[in-house]
């Protein structure tokens, strides 16, 4: 599809730029990068590195949300995968097996969610809430409540190693994002997922296997959660079943929505979700380096989110559209594309 030029000046990038700029003002050394024993260091790298787990969650979450669903269990799934990895590596299993087992755990969790949604027809939020609650329990039964630590270099490499001078998580994030995007866009999967999200009934009439597809996306989300679970565990060299990924599902969802995928399903973009995750992390890193007292963290976060909202809101979109030089291309959601005619009425 011929991409209109406008679509490269997305508001998300404006938001990201704004926040990075802000960080730089608060902490002049923000953009400094330096290279030591074969690895890049610097706040920017931290943003990417620390953003990776949420970004990876967001990749899976994007597909789920595109089908008009939501997955609250990803945090818990992270815990399960981490627990599996840590305990198995502790029992001296080979790394390959460990990773496979952890990923398998994630897939099973996703399969479970998917079945609840697609076969039993439960509402996604409640279906995944079940695993969100129980999942941590399961993870803790695996670790028996301890923080299971390990020092298997292979597994640790997943979290704090580096490839081509970049931390492993960044590499994993980029690869996964690329592969996922390809898988959805080079096949018809992307179209099918969007169709189901837009109108499941019509999609079924058109001959889509909506059940299978739904199960598929939730399984994929579980898979992504497992990956970031492994990374999180590897990062601290231990499985902290109770705290890993706590409330991260919200960040992931936030990332997806900031990335421009609607919670009402339909159009989705995995790369933009990753950008969304980086926006969030840039925010957090900024808070860390800025040196505000911690009781301000939430306020700052709230304020920034509100700013992003305003920047991205259709209202701003309209204004931007009218000041923009070329009136050729409609902004993401212009009055015309906003069928809620009432808002048109109220916006006189």
């Amino acid at each position: 599809m011929s991409r209109p030029l406008r679509s490269f000046i997305k508001p998300q990038f404006i938001a990201l730029a704004l926040i990075l700029l802000l960080n730089w003002i608060l902490f002049p050394g923000f953009f400094n990068l330096f290279f030591r024993d074969g690895r890049l260091y610097g706040s920017l790298i931290d943003v990417l590195n620390r953003g990776a787990p949420v970004a990876i969650l967001a990749i899976g979450m994007t597909a789920v949300i595109a089908t008009r669903g939501i997955d609250l269990s990803v945090g818990a799934v992270m815990a399960i995968a981490g627990a599996v990895a840590a305990t198995m590596v502790g029992d001296g299993h080979p790394l390959f097996l460990v990773i496979m087992a952890a990923l398998a755990a994630g897939l099973v969790c996703g399969l479970w969610n998917g079945s609840l949604v697609a076969l039993l027809g439960l509402q996604p939020i409640i279906a995944t809430l079940i695993l969100m609650v129980a999942g941590r329990g399961i993870a803790q039964t695996i670790t028996e409540g301890f923080i299971v630590t390990f020092n298997d270099p292979g597994l640790i490499f997943m979290g704090s190693g580096s490839i081509l001078g970049l931390p492993t998580p960044i590499i994993i994030m980029v690869t996964l994002a690329a592969l996922a995007t390809a898988a959805f866009r080079l096949t018809a999967l992307g179209l099918f997922v969007e169709a189901i999200g837009v109108n499941r009934s019509a999609s079924t009439y058109a001959g889509l296997r909506s059940r299978a597809l739904l199960i598929g996306v939730y399984t994929f989300a579980g898979f992504c959660a497992a990956i970031s679970g492994i990374i999180a565990a590897a990062d601290i060299r231990g499985a902290d079943a109770n705290n890993v990924g706590l409330w991260l599902e919200l960040d992931a969802i936030l990332a997806v929505v900031i990335g421009g995928t609607s919670l009402m399903g339909g159009r989705f973009s995995i790369p933009m979700s990753v950008v969304g995750a980086l926006i969030i992390q840039a925010m957090n890193t900024g808070i860390l380096v800025s040196g505000f007292p911690p009781e301000f963290n939430l306020l700052v976060k709230a304020a920034l989110i509100i700013v992003i909202l305003v920047v991205q809101s259709p209202l701003a979109g309209r204004i931007w559209y009218f000041i923009a030089p070329s009136r050729k291309r409609p902004p993401p959601s212009s009055p015309a594309e906003t069928p809620a005619t009432s808002t048109e009425g109220t916006l006189k």
């Binding site: 439960l122 509402q123 409640i126 803790q140 009432s342 808002t343």
Partner: protein, 331 residues
């Protein structure tokens, strides 16, 4: 038998059955004491859940309730203990602030056309953040008025108490039911949840309703915070973390569709009680480790919801001409 009542009936049946089963295991559960506690301990949840029901019926969601509860509790405590205001004055101020907060969120959702999920998520951070600015430590409230309020309780046969809080929750639910099912505002809320566009074309005041819904939700969250402060006679900035999800769950267990437009206020009351039951059951069992606690809660949740689905599905077999478009994912 009107088809719309099935989810509700299902929920009630399941609750009764489950309670019976629990009593068989722990006869002690069958006492007005336990029932009284069920009301008292869930009062603040219930009050908040009424607001959440309106939000969800309108097709939205409000993640800020937990933080608003904490905020209101702390603000009340600060106003009373540090500024020496009379509790009633403190309540008035707090409720006013919370309502404004909610209206603002509603306005942003409507006029900026941003998803409620995100706006209220920001609201969640904001409220909690402001709470931390007010105080980091928990503040006790020692005021004659609080002790005075506490004397109001009705002792049921068997020694169970319906406390002021418990009673208040029931009243709020009554008001909620009337507001939802017997007023124009209520019908507007359902309309919005059914199909916002059509609602607009039918002349439903979308802006007013949206703002109203979130105002109500935050008002009730504020009230719930006050209930919480009466419950613990203190304000605690870390109180009610994650309560938003608990209330959402209660609403949905109560048979309300998250996609909006379908459900009953009364169902939410059942939903709340079911969750209370689960907690109480766990405590009575008393053998579960920390992690098994979580697993069992999840398991019971699963059990309830699946049973509900089964009953509803059975009733639904051939009543509807075509699948319900609005709720595509939750057919």
């Amino acid at each position: 038998m009107n088809v719309r009542y099935w989810p509700l009936i299902a929920t009630i049946t399941i609750f009764v059955v489950a309670y019976a089963l629990a009593v068989m295991q722990f006869p002690a559960l069958f006492s007005t004491r336990v029932l009284g506690n069920l009301l008292t301990d869930n009062a603040f949840l219930g009050v908040a859940a009424v607001g959440m029901t309106f939000v969800i019926l309108s097709g939205g969601i409000d993640l800020s309730v937990g933080s608003v509860i904490a905020f209101s509790g702390v603000l009340v405590a600060v106003l009373i203990s540090q500024f020496g205001l009379h509790p009633l004055a403190a309540f008035a101020i707090t409720l006013f602030v919370c309502t404004c907060f909610g209206s603002t969120m509603g306005a942003m959702i409507h006029y900026l056309e941003v998803p409620a999920f995100i706006v209220t998520l920001a609201g969640m951070f904001l409220a909690r953040g402001v709470t931390f600015l007010l105080t980091q430590d928990s503040i006790p409230i020692n005021h004659a008025f609080y002790d005075w309020v506490r004397q109001f309780y009705y002792v049921m046969p068997g020694g169970g108490r319906i406390t002021f809080n418990g009673g208040l929750m029931l009243i709020v639910f009554l008001v909620g039911i009337v507001l939802a099912h017997r007023t124009r505002f209520g019908s507007y809320v359902y309309a919005l949840g059914g199909n916002a566009q059509s609602a607009a074309l039918l002349g439903v005041p979308v802006a007013r309703t949206t703002i109203g819904v979130y105002a109500v939700s935050s008002f009730l969250a504020g009230l719930s915070g006050i209930v919480y402060s009466l419950y613990t006679s203190s304000g605690y900035p870390l109180a009610a973390v994650g309560v938003e999800l608990e209330t959402i769950a209660a609403v949905v267990i109560g048979g309300t569709l998250l996609s909006g437009g379908v459900g009953f206020m009364f169902g939410t009351l059942i939903g709340i009680t079911i969750q209370g039951m689960i907690q109480t059951y766990i405590v009575f069992d008393g053998t579960l480790s920390s992690w098994w606690t979580k697993i069992v809660i999840g398991g019971l949740l699963f059990g309830f919801i699946v049973m509900q689905r089964v009953i509803v599905a059975a009733s639904k077999r051939d009543w509807r001409k075509k699948p319900y478009a609005q709720s595509a994912p939750s057919l």
